[in-house]
């Protein structure tokens, strides 16, 4: 690393910046393909929902218990807010306002935990109202899709915790901000998938 840093100093700053931009673009491209793969996975889940839905002449199925969509609605708000906070955090990092960046990512982690907690609550409430994973395709879709989504939120949550700790130790600056930006991209993606789920499963 030290020899690399020495080389950086010898180099005219614009060349170093250009090379950094190139490396970041490579990493970004990898992330884009990763998200494309993940998008296809969720597309397959939405496709499954669509097939089940168009093959059923009543939806929700008869006898399906009523439940409140209050918690998912709040959660949509929570995850949108968290994305906004992380977005702000990244722009703080770009300006190297390290304290503001750290605070934003800590707040983001709290929101992520809140989302997972509310999801847990929502699943318990559903089961209490009589809708379980084995309540036919209806229960399967609601539980199965939100489970898979929550697993991705969980991965993001752990990443945010690690990033927050690193931010606390002032690991990140503008020149190595790419890691932070890529995880933020991931988080936005998870948020978008949730909003799609909320609209298609709970509202439509």
């Amino acid at each position: 690393m030290s020899t690399m840093a020495a080389k950086m100093i010898e180099m005219p700053p614009n060349v170093a910046a250009q090379n950094r931009a190139r490396r970041e673009w490579t990493a970004m491209l990898g992330m884009i393909f990763l998200l494309a793969a993940w998008a296809m996975m969720f597309a397959a889940l939405f496709f499954s929902y669509a097939i089940v839905r168009v093959r059923s002449n009543v939806w929700p199925p008869v006898n399906a218990p009523e439940f409140s969509i209050m918690l998912p609605a709040i959660n949509s708000f929570v995850i949108a807010l968290s994305s906004l906070v992380l977005h702000r955090g990244v722009s703080h990092l770009r300006k190297e306002k390290l304290a503001a960046f750290r605070n934003a990512f800590m707040l983001g982690s709290v929101f992520a935990a809140l989302f997972l907690g509310l999801q847990w609550h929502f699943w318990s409430a559903l089961m209490a109202s009589g809708l379980t994973p084995d309540s036919g395709s209806y229960g399967s879709i609601i539980f199965g899709l939100t489970w898979v989504h929550a697993a991705h939120v969980l991965i993001g949550f752990f990443a945010l915790i690690v990033l927050s700790i690193q931010a606390w130790r002032q690991v990140y600056r503008l020149e190595n901000s790419i890691t932070v930006r890529l995880w933020t991209m991931y988080w936005h993606f998870v948020g978008i998938v949730w909003l799609l789920m909320f609209v298609t499963i709970f509202i439509m």
Binding site: N19, A37, S48, S56, S140, G144
Partner: protein, 590 residues
């Protein structure tokens, strides 16, 4: 700072051979892992062939070793486990790691002039995740009720808790998911590397066809393996957590889901998978035929366009696997037409290969004959596929051995011969030594003749009405007269296995005692042959500049000035843009 820094060669055994980030070593790791599972999948195939020839009789050798409880015979309980694991192992743990894992890793950076993959650490992770999935496959055999038994397609209700109780089937679905993760990791790496790490001058239209094939395969992998992942995940949820996605019932009354849903998800992935497996082989064959015909690949651009067209079309034809599921006839016809349209780009590929050889100075080296064998068997596979893609004939042929013969020609025979074409061609680069051509030719003729006969035999009995997956077809009087044909086919399969002995001897002998290969034993112009065999850790020093396409052969000016009939991609030649001139000649119909 250099964008592709030179890493020092690791000194410890663990870092050099196990947890390595060197794409060339990872390639060899994938090759070993794939060859091992090819042997396993092959032995399972031999047991299936034994069952179809001599049902109920004691299996030689294997029966004594593993089937003591049944007196050496294959039981009705064991039989579905054999064909299920044969199919899955061959596809996900033998062909995929060899064609894509090994040669994707080996060829992409070397052929585009890069020092390594874009994400070396991800590359290492991809291999070890793959190994984990292999361990899971092995473990699936040791649960109560044994290994997976719902056929490679794993349709519910057969793959549900009632069809295949026990954790073996669940473990297999999880293993498929995990190997899918490894494949996607590799795919992301390959796609990004080709986009970002091409050497100066290596334009898209100067890429070797091998790289084109691998790149398109990787795009398909990144986009469609996740769909299989979803299908597997939902199936695991059904088996373990009580959901009812694929449990037959009525959606409207909340009493169940839809088993057909699995078929949709499976084939949205499954059809592209056929092309995922064959595209690298097509690319390799396209290069090798040009190399050993000592002529530029005929209409390179057309070949590339055809490869892209096949890739795109492969994503929109999956319904041809579901003609018998009560699909809307209008939808069925659309899928039929799209399917048949694939034969147009496929024709372009075949004609370009033939045209490349036309009037060439053909050198019948071992990789060349394997390439020609690949073309031949894929031709058979393609032609027999037309009758399955057409609804009216599919109704009769559906679920017969004809289907088995067809997809084995495309997915098994063509990829098998294509993989060996690649092994014989790049072995000198990988290990620095030449393989023995005599043993190679023996291996080829055994493999080529008997693989053609094995799957041809399946086509014939299938056309005569033998359904696939039958434990003992001769319980049915209308199939008894087919036993003779099945016995002959089985003996062709045993001869095919025997022929592999030549390869094993050749492979190990050449690795340690083969003739030194030198940098460029085949006298070809792609970048990997401009560096020592085997290449140093950082491949290129410095990174080469590329002046023209990968197939510059038999150019009269080059012959006159340089005394050789080929030109390296990094050799400038009087500033003449050779690729352009070749393309012009094609345009003029020369």
């Amino acid at each position: 700072m250099d964008l592709q820094p030179i890493h020092h060669e690791p000194t410890t055994f663990v870092k050099k051979y196990l947890f390595t980030t060197d794409h060339k070593v990872i390639a060899k790791q994938f090759l070993w892992a794939g060859l091992l599972f090819l042997l396993w999948g092959g032995l399972l195939a031999m047991m299936i062939r034994w069952q179809w020839a001599y049902p109920g009789e004691k299996v030689p050798v294997i029966g004594d070793l593993f089937l003591k409880e049944s007196g050496g015979a294959i039981t009705p309980d064991l039989y579905p486990k054999l064909f299920t694991n044969h199919g899955l192992i061959m596809i996900f743990w033998a062909i995929t790691p060899m064609l894509i894992g090994a040669f994707g890793n080996y060829c992409i950076p070397l052929m585009i002039g890069a020092r390594d993959m874009a994400f070396p650490l991800l590359n290492m992770l991809s291999f070890w995740v793959f190994v984990l999935s292999q361990i899971m496959v092995g473990a699936s055999f040791f649960f109560d009720n044994g290994a997976a038994a719902a056929a490679w397609i794993s349709y519910p209700p057969m793959s549900g808790n009632i069809g295949t109780p026990g954790h073996g089937q669940t473990m297999m679905m999880a293993a498929i998911f995990v190997t899918g993760v490894a494949t996607i990791m590799g795919g992301i790496n390959y796609v990004t590397t080709v986009i970002r790490f091409r050497a100066p001058g290596m334009t898209w239209m100067r890429l070797p066809l091998t790289v084109w094939g691998l790149w398109l395969t990787s795009v398909l992998n990144v986009l469609f393996v996740p769909v299989l992942g979803s299908a597997g995940l939902l199936l695991i949820l059904d088996r373990m957590f009580g959901t009812q996605f694929f449990v037959a019932g009525a959606n409207a009354t909340g009493t169940g889901g839809d088993p057909i849903l699995f078929q949709h998800l499976f084939w949205i992935f499954g059809h592209p998978e056929v092309y995922i497996l064959i595209l690298p082989a097509w690319g390799i064959v396209g290069d090798v035929i040009s190399f050993f015909s000592r002529k530029p690949a005929y209409w390179y651009k057309g070949t590339v366009i055809a490869l892209i067209a096949v890739t795109v079309l492969s994503a929109v034809v999956y319904g041809h696997h579901m003609f018998m599921t009560g699909i809307n006839p209008l939808l069925g016809q659309s899928f039929m037409i799209l399917t048949l349209v694939i034969s147009i780009p496929a024709e372009v590929l075949f004609l370009n290969w033939l045209h490349t050889m036309w009037k060439g100075s053909i050198r019948l080296t071992v990789p060349m004959i394997f390439a020609l064998g690949t073309v031949f068997v894929f031709g058979l596979g393609g032609l027999t596929g037309i009758f399955l893609g057409t609804i009216s004939t599919d109704i009769y042929l559906h679920d017969t051995m004809y289907v088995v013969g067809h997809f084995h020609y495309t997915m098994a025979a063509a990829t098998f011969l294509g993989t060996f074409c690649a092994i014989y061609f790049w072995f000198p680069k990988m290990f620095g030594r030449k393989m023995n051509p005599m043993l190679g030719k023996l291996h080829f003729w055994f493999s080529f003749i008997f693989i053609t006969l094995v799957f041809g035999g399946q086509l014939v009995v299938g056309y005569a009405g033998q359904p696939r997956w039958f434990f003992d077809p001769y319980q049915y009087t209308f199939l008894q007269h087919l036993q003779d044909a099945n016995i002959k086919t089985s003996w062709a399969a045993f001869a095919l296995l025997f022929g592999q002995v030549f390869f094993v001897i050749n492979f190990f002998k050449s690795m340690f005692a083969g003739e030194e290969a030198g940098d460029n034993p085949w006298e070809v112009g792609t970048l990997e042959w401009t560096i020592p065999s085997p290449p140093p850790v950082h491949n290129f020093d410095p990174i080469p500049t590329v002046y023209h396409g990968p197939h510059e052969y038999a150019h009269p000016g080059v012959l006159e000035k340089m005394g050789k009939d080929w030109l390296g991609q990094d050799e400038a030649f009087d500033g003449i843009e050779l690729s352009a001139s070749t393309d012009e000649k094609v345009a003029q119909g020369a």
